[in-house]
């Protein structure tokens, strides 16, 4: 058996992960972060070579309907045979198989919820089309994550259950090498797995390390334990040792890390290591500040300390560099999960099932209507329509209408001037307005985002979200001070608005400023140029066709002939609203009105 338990090159790392996954697919799960291309194909090929033949690997397309994913009444067979025939969905068919979810970064949270419920229970429960079934469904899941930025990632509920994280970013075509393990070696490891011994020290070590890395979810150490066991089985061991734990830490815990462990000196020690190109994923756990207090507990636990020290030495040397190199990691360490944010969901007016209804209410769902009518055929024919020559007797009650996402949702993007002292008065009200909007958004399924500009830059403080909980947390620490880089704010808003539109939601930009721009696009100061830049950015927004609302917050006393915000509103083709005394209720009402009148 190969001895490479501590593989170094990105390809070897990825290949080793494939082997770990293949040892225990239904408990592990992989998040494969890579665009389509030769590297990903090579990895999937490697995975195929790890799994028994014929490789039980199936691909699930994005936007698969519930009838295919979960199962339902098989219409044609039911009609042909005259008895109810259940058509098992992909999840049930895949018992003992591996399912690849294409474009997992675009999975909706409801699709993810269906998948994770099967992963958690090892069986699938279907209550559809008059049929109830429960079938074993122990599936291994590979999420093909093609997300680009920090904000694009599979739904957090799914990420929480995927043990292994593989990023193929650093894998060049030339570096793709051979398999680390043969199919037979992996089969042996699989046989060995149930007999592997894990002692309490291993469990303690993983829990402590998870806490030190700031990983809040308890599933992470549990998954790490499973991976450690797989690593032990792969090397033919009988008892999980420090190397296995190190492997589990580097594949399961390190990618979820939101901070560097207490022993920060380790980080300097490893700094000369070759820079790593791999980027850990945005962690889906929020930072749990209460974990901080545990450092003291940790130091008092001698046994764990020993294990931890031992583990530290054997953690792949690049771990700390690897975490340092990650922009997400740095950003995350101090501020609460800026990414982790968007739960992408299908908002492209994709049909989402059918429900009974009259044709006046929507479009006929033909198949669903037939499915509803099918059971009644014999009854109807025998009762009233014996002579009816029509092959299928339909009644109005059968009609099913297709449900699309009820409303095309709006994402209100607040672009807020957080400069100088006036921000102090304005920001709390903006936060209030956002929360008011979110408090009733469950009805209209709308989202809210916030871009703040101050000093010389603009940043997305709150990525589009529908969750009041998340918004509250992220808005809590928003400071205000510095100059007014109006142009930067508008540019950032434009980028965000376009990404919102790509997701199928319609952006509504809400600019709140007194219009006194003093920082130019290039960061230099100067009022005239800053305003010129802002107007140019405004024109771009107009060109992009983003609907907007400009709220002028300059003091009521200043009655200029042409207030700068009005000029800007004209450039942006925005509705202009003068609101010198910004208050949460007014703002949220104005935004609601603007959203509805479009």
């Amino acid at each position: 058996m190969s001895e490479s338990t501590n593989p170094r090159s990105p390809w070897e790392r990825a290949n080793y992960a494939a082997a770990l996954f293949a040892v225990d697919p239904s408990s592990c799960g992989v998040r494969l972060r890579a665009g389509p291309g030769p590297a990903r194909d090579a990895w999937l090929e490697a995975l195929r070579n790890c799994l028994p033949e014929p490789a039980p690997l199936r691909r699930v397309p994005l936007g698969i309907g519930d009838d295919r994913l979960l199962g339902g009444l098989d219409l044609s067979e039911t009609l042909r045979l005259g008895r109810p025939i259940f058509d098992a969905g992909l999840m049930a068919q895949a018992d003992g198989c591996v399912l690849m979810f294409a474009m997992a970064d675009r999975l909706s949270s409801s699709a993810a919820a269906r998948i994770v419920s099967v992963m958690d229970n090892g069986e699938i429960s279907v209550e559809r089309d008059g049929l109830a079934r429960r079938m074993p469904a122990r599936v291994g899941v590979v999420a093909l994550d093609e997300g680009l930025g920090d904000d694009e990632h599979p739904p957090p509920a799914l990420l929480d259950r995927l043990a292994l994280y593989v990023d193929l970013d650093g894998v060049s075509y030339a570096s793709i090498g051979s398999q680390l393990f043969t199919r037979d070696e992996i089969a042996d490891a699989r046989t060995l797995l149930p007999s592997i011994v894990t002692d309490d020290k291993a469990i303690e070590a993983l829990v402590v390390i998870a806490a030190q890395l700031g990983v809040a979810s308890l599933r992470a150490p549990l998954k790490a334990l499973i991976v450690a066991r797989a690593a032990c089985a792969l090397r033919g061991g009988a008892r999980v040792d420090e190397n296995d734990i190190a492997a589990a830490v580097s594949y399961v815990l390190a990618p979820r890390a939101i901070r560097i462990p207490a022993g920060a000196e380790a980080q300097e020690e490893f700094e000369e290591e070759q820079p790593q190109t791999q980027v850990p994923p945005p962690p889906d756990q929020e930072r749990d500040s209460s974990l901080d207090q545990d450092r003291h507990d940790v130091s008092s636990m001698k046994l764990e300390d020993l294990v931890l020290e031992a583990t530290k030495a054997s953690i792949p040397k690049n771990l700390f560099a690897f975490m340092e190199a990650s922009p997400t990691f740095r950003a995350k360490a101090e501020r609460v999960g800026k990414a982790g944010a968007i739960a992408p969901s299908s908002r492209r007016g994709r049909p989402v099932g059918a429900r009974p209804g009259s044709l006046r209410d929507g479009r006929l769902g033909l198949i669903d209507t037939m499915r509803a009518a099918a059971p009644w055929q014999k009854i109807r024919r025998s009762m009233e329509a014996r002579a009816d020559a029509r092959p299928i007797l339909l009644r109005p009650e059968d009609f099913r209408i297709v449900r699309f996402r009820e409303h095309r949702e709006t994402t209100a993007i607040f672009v807020v001037d957080a400069s100088g002292s006036s921000a102090m008065a304005r920001l709390p009200e903006v936060k209030g307005a956002i929360e008011l909007l979110l408090a009733d958004c469950y009805v209209r399924r709308d989202s809210v985002a916030l871009v703040a500009f101050r000093g010389t830059t603009a940043e997305i403080v709150l990525p589009p979200t529908r969750s009041l909980t998340r918004a509250k947390r992220m808005l809590a620490g928003l400071p205000g001070s510095g100059g007014t880089p109006l142009a930067c704010g508008l540019d950032a808003a434009l980028t965000l608005a376009e990404s919102v539109r790509r997701r199928g939601s319609s952006p509504l930009l809400v600019l709140m400023t007194d219009g006194r721009a003093n920082i130019c696009r290039n960061g230099a100061s100067g009022r005239t140029q800053a305003m010129q830049d802002a107007l140019r950015s405004g024109t771009q927004l107009r060109a992009a066709g983003i609907s907007s609302l400009a709220i002028d917050t300059s003091p009521a006393l200043q009655t200029q002939a042409n207030p700068p915000v009005l000029l800007l509103a004209q450039a942006m083709n925005a509705r202009y609203l003068k609101l010198p005394h910004v208050d949460a209720v007014h703002v949220s009402n104005a935004v609601r009105a603007a959203a509805q009148s479009r």
Binding site: G82, S109, A210, S217, D297, P356, Y442, A476, A584
Partner: protein
């Protein structure tokens, strides 16, 4: 969970895998659900005392009206629900009744059981209290019940096949990820939960049957908010958090791991704890009606609700019922302030009118008010 076995024959016979054959061969269709593996024992759940307490209260007095468990991922929300199902003592039902009617019941019986002459004693059976899962993606017809497909297709008979609401009668209806539930299903549930019965009218199929169930919902608030009407349906609401201290976290992982490696052995080692817990529930149910509630206690409860500004009487009623269930669980003869204090956050926390500009969580507001009224 048993160790993963790929469905690949180890030996020479090149039988196809499930996957390869799934398209060709009809998938296995067992009408009987497969044998349920033993769930994680309720008593083995580490910490999460509020969640466990809320479940026990509902098990003792179903009229408290359900539990909503909202919070962090990986805190064992679903585990606890499944554990509860295994913990509950069995109940007597009319044999063969699809709605689990109570043989001694007079009200909320199904048509068949009501039609039975009072003089005749029905055959009874002992059944586990149903804890019915409402899986995501369930269709309306399975929730409320619909035409019996088998009989309609093969015999041309019009018969009603009870749905999940029927199955859940006198038991629990569990919805995981409740905030992702489709709106039209939420409406159906609200209607049934409010009236305690399920009514189906369709093409000569006219059925009305009791549907009294305890609603249990779980979810993660980051996935979205819950409709206020649905929120209000839940008697108790619990906020679950991942435990932060290391020893607790270690213990959680240790037990979970031991369970997953050998569920049966793990369940066995907790058997006596489980039995003890079950006996407590049975005893508490029996003594529930004899627990007294003084006027002073009722007064306190009312004060608390007024001070918190909870809407309607539902909160007050739930508060008292929950406190009474807690008192009987602890073997106390009457409801005291201590009981009210402990259940107030569960019964009232989700009923406060939200003030978006007030950052203090509703939990803290309840706690503050309790201290004002009961004294620190």
């Amino acid at each position: 969970m048993a160790p993963f076995q790929l469905n690949i024959p180890v030996e020479t016979v090149p039988a196809p895998t499930h996957c390869a054959s799934a398209a060709a061969r009809p998938p296995k269709q067992s009408l009987e659900p497969p044998e349920k593996p033993s769930p994680f024992p309720f008593s083995a759940i580490v910490g999460q005392d509020e969640m466990k307490l809320a479940f026990l209260i509902c098990a003792i007095d179903p009229s408290v009206g359900g539990v909503l468990v909202f919070g962090d991922r990986g805190t064992g929300k679903s585990t606890a629900v499944r554990a509860l199902a295994a913990l509950l003592p069995k109940m007597r039902v009319v044999q063969g009744c699809p709605y689990n009617c109570d043989p001694c019941g007079v009200t909320s019986l199904c048509d068949a059981c009501r039609a039975r002459p009072l003089t005749s004693t029905p055959k009874t059976a002992s059944r586990a209290v149903p804890v019915v899962d409402l899986p995501l993606g369930a269709t309306e017809d399975r929730v409320v019940g619909a035409l019996d497909l088998q009989r309609a297709l093969s015999l041309g008979e019009k018969a009603f096949e009870p749905g999940l609401l029927a199955k859940a009668n006198r038991g629990f209806l569990y919805i995981d990820e409740v905030n992702l539930l489709e709106d039209h299903l939420v409406d159906l549930l609200l209607d049934a939960a409010a009236s305690g019965e399920n009514v189906i009218e369709r093409e000569g199929l006219s059925v009305r049957h009791p549907a009294r169930f305890v609603l249990i919902g779980s979810g993660n608030p980051e996935e979205g908010e819950l409709r206020p009407q649905l929120l209000d349906r839940f008697g108790l609401a619990v906020d679950v958090k991942t435990p932060a201290d290391i020893p607790t976290r270690v213990e959680v992982i240790r037990r979970r791991d031991a369970f997953e490696r050998d569920p049966a052995a793990f369940a066995k080692s907790w058997l006596s704890e489980e039995q003890k817990q079950r006996r407590r529930i049975v005893a508490a149910r029996e003594s529930l009606s004899s627990v007294s509630t003084t006027d002073a206690t009722l007064e306190r409860a009312a004060q608390l609700c007024v001070a918190l500004g909870t809407d309607g009487l539902r909160g007050e009623l739930t508060l008292i019922r929950a406190a009474r269930a807690l008192a009987s669980l602890e073997g106390d003869a009457s409801v005291a302030d201590g009981h009210l204090r402990r259940v107030a956050p569960l019964a009232l926390g989700h009923r406060l009118r939200r003030n978006p500009l007030d950052d203090t969580g509703s939990r803290h507001r309840v706690q503050r008010t309790i201290e004002e009224i009961f004294g620190g």
